[in-house]
């Protein structure tokens, strides 16, 4: 082999002849440091001031664990629901032309634009035991507002556009011929969707899931109105952080934040690796 000597363990990918590599890399690093890295390391720094025993005590506190479970659990359920229905919404928007399609398309973005507190209040009014939907569900024994179910609904509302907007462009690129060829080979509609179309969309769906999930974990505004915020039952981790802050217990607040940060980072990293793997395979 006549490849370059493998002296360095790794190296930069050879930059192209188009100039600006050094400048843009420098700018990106400086920007990321300023906007993301410095605040986050400040967070870690503050929580490190606690000392290991105190940190561990806070991390293993029942209330903290419950809050984290609720935050990550509801975000996971909401993102999963959004993956299914978001993909269907995207499908309808891409595949069918119907009167009002543009309006529906624009409506998908509303959760992006709406102040989250407004969404929270609206949902609470709707799902409260005396609200429109809540009063219909109450006789069935289903309580939405002031329970984790309410949190899930708020997070579904918040997360939907993330899935739709990541899946939609990829769906638009699907070649009609691929579906036609599957049909000539004898695949029925269901088989075509399950074996041909969805696997092609998988990377986009995973991205949409990751975004909706990450957003759900961090969501505060819309959730606190509908959640009821009962400690151990429907108290989310961001709220617990705010509560600790209001108690001037900055160390505990940053400790919980650091745990959330670590968990989110690991999950997003895993999702990213899955994507890189699938992209390498399918090009």
């Amino acid at each position: 082999m006549t490849t370059a000597p493998a002296k360095a363990g790794w190296r930069f990918r050879q930059p192209s002849v188009i100039p600006g590599f050094g400048l843009t890399l420098g700018f990106s690093l400086a920007y990321l440091t300023l906007i993301i890295l410095i605040p986050l390391s400040g967070l870690i720094w503050r929580s490190a001031a606690l000392g290991w025993t105190d940190f561990w005590a806070i991390a293993t506190d029942r209330r903290t664990i419950n809050a984290l479970e609720i935050s990550f659990g509801t975000a996971f359920i909401a993102a999963s629901v959004n993956v299914v229905f978001g993909t269907i919404v995207a499908w309808v928007l891409v595949r069918y032309n119907f009167p009002g399609r543009r309006i529906v398309d624009a409506m998908v973005d509303l959760p992006f634009a709406l102040p989250t507190a407004v969404a929270g209040i609206a949902l609470t009014t709707l799902y409260a035991p005396n609200g429109w939907l809540g009063s219909l569900l109450a006789p069935l024994g289903i309580k939405v507002a002031y329970t984790p179910l309410g949190i899930v609904i708020a997070l579904i509302f918040i997360g939907l556009p993330f899935v739709v907007r990541t899946v939609q462009p990829i769906m638009e690129e699907i070649d009609k011929e691929v579906e036609e060829v599957a049909a000539t080979l004898g695949a029925n509609r269901f088989q075509t969707i399950a074996r041909v179309l969805l696997p092609g969309l998988a990377p986009a769906i995973v991205t949409g899931f990751a975004l909706a999930f990450a957003r759900g974990v961090g969501e505060y505004g819309s959730v606190i109105f509908i959640a009821g915020n009962l400690p151990y039952k429907s108290e989310i981790a961001p709220l617990l952080i705010v509560i600790r802050l209001e108690e001037y217990n900055y160390a505990a607040a940053t400790a919980i934040a650091a745990i959330m940060l670590a968990l989110s980072f690991v999950m997003l990293l895993v999702i990213n690796l899955v994507q890189t793997w699938s992209r390498k395979r399918y090009g």
Partner: protein, 346 residues
């Protein structure tokens, strides 16, 4: 399997793409649908596949009326110009797809499907690439995989839509010969669409020439080239020159001079004379010939192509001369077509 297209008409939103087309395809035949863009050749192919439904008329596979069947039931192998491979599947999975989606007893075992896939890969000369993904193959290789995938279901008829259109010239020539070999080996009834006449004439048992939604002529390469039955076919297939002429008293006239061609059966009146540029005799003295002033002369590969201006109307025609022929130096050339055909003026 025999395929019969019977009086098929197809409209897209009131716009007719095919007018009353009928065509018989024999079992085991290799047929080319040839025509310019918009001639309806791809529409006809898609109708046979069931990817479109005819507005009127029927399509028979053998004795069965296939127009009533869904695409899935027709059992056709379709190959697209841009391959349409499943990106997320390996080559072997692509080829085995048609067998895997079958239900019940007609579905072979996983092992059998794998065996079949590698057998087909051998046939298309891509042995050993089972585990590759389409993104890792060249264009020519992808098209071979697409063909193997279509053949895996033992199709009643194999339909290819501009199969070599996206490939470069050399790969194209190579695949053309290779497709002929595969056809001879497997004997699938095959219909392919092309706008490349060389491809159609070289490859097909019979060529269907189409124009503006109708079939102009069906025949072997020899028939199409030697006895074109319409001005369109004469102009579309191969090189041709055309001159406006007049038929009177069984003679062909240009302006007020007979050109030495007798046409006893042609109808009197205005007509168009067609001939091949290379199919002419040069004459020295002109008593009954076509004579013209040399307007341009170009060297094309092994011959010289001379453009002549004929008569007062200065109609331009092309003839072909041997490279070293002295006539190319002259300012005036006289010739008589060796083989020619008259079509009444439109």
């Amino acid at each position: 399997m025999e395929v019969r297209v019977a009086n098929v008409r197809k409209e897209f939103e009131r716009f007719p793409a095919l007018h009353d087309v009928s065509l018989d395809i024999k079992s085991g035949e290799l047929i080319a649908l040839l025509g310019p863009s918009g001639s309806g050749k791809t529409t006809l192919l898609r109708l046979i596949a069931g990817l479109e439904r005819p507005t009127k008329g029927k399509i028979f596979f053998g004795e069965e009326d296939a127009s009533q069947k869904s695409i899935q039931e027709r059992n056709v192998g379709f190959v697209f110009q841009h391959y349409a491979l499943f990106r997320h599947m390996t080559v072997a999975d692509n080829i085995g797809f048609g067998l895997k989606v079958r239900h019940g007893p007609s579905r072979p075992s996983a092992q059998e499907i794998r065996r079949r896939a590698s057998e087909l890969l051998d046939l298309v000369q891509l042995s050993g690439l089972e585990k590759r993904y389409p993104a890792q193959l060249s264009g020519g290789q992808r098209q071979r995989v697409a063909l193997a995938r279509a053949m895996a279901i033992e199709p009643a008829v194999l339909l290819l839509d501009e199969p070599f259109g996206a490939l470069d010239a050399q790969v194209r020539r190579e695949l053309r010969r290779w497709l002929r070999d595969i056809h001879d080996a497997t004997g699938h009834t095959t219909v392919f669409v092309t706008h490349d006449q060389e491809e159609a004439l070289e490859l097909a048992d019979r060529v269907v020439v189409m124009s503006q939604g109708s079939i102009e002529q069906v025949g072997t390469a020899d028939e199409i080239y030697d006895t074109p039955n319409s001005p369109f076919v004469y102009g579309f297939i191969g090189e041709s020159s055309a001159l406006p002429v007049k038929v009177e008293d069984g003679q062909v006239w240009i302006a007020d001079r007979p050109i030495g061609l007798s046409a006893p059966h042609a109808p009197q009146g205005e007509a168009t004379l067609f001939f091949r540029p290379h199919d002419v005799d040069l004459v020295d003295e002109c008593n009954g010939c076509i004579a013209g002033t040399v307007a341009a002369s170009r060297r094309v590969a092994g011959t010289r192509r001379v453009e002549l201006e004929i008569g007062g109307e200065r109609q331009r025609v092309e003839i072909e001369l041997p490279v070293d022929h002295p006539a190319a130096q002259k300012s005036r050339v006289a010739f008589r077509p060796r083989r020619w055909k008259l079509f009444p003026a439109p």
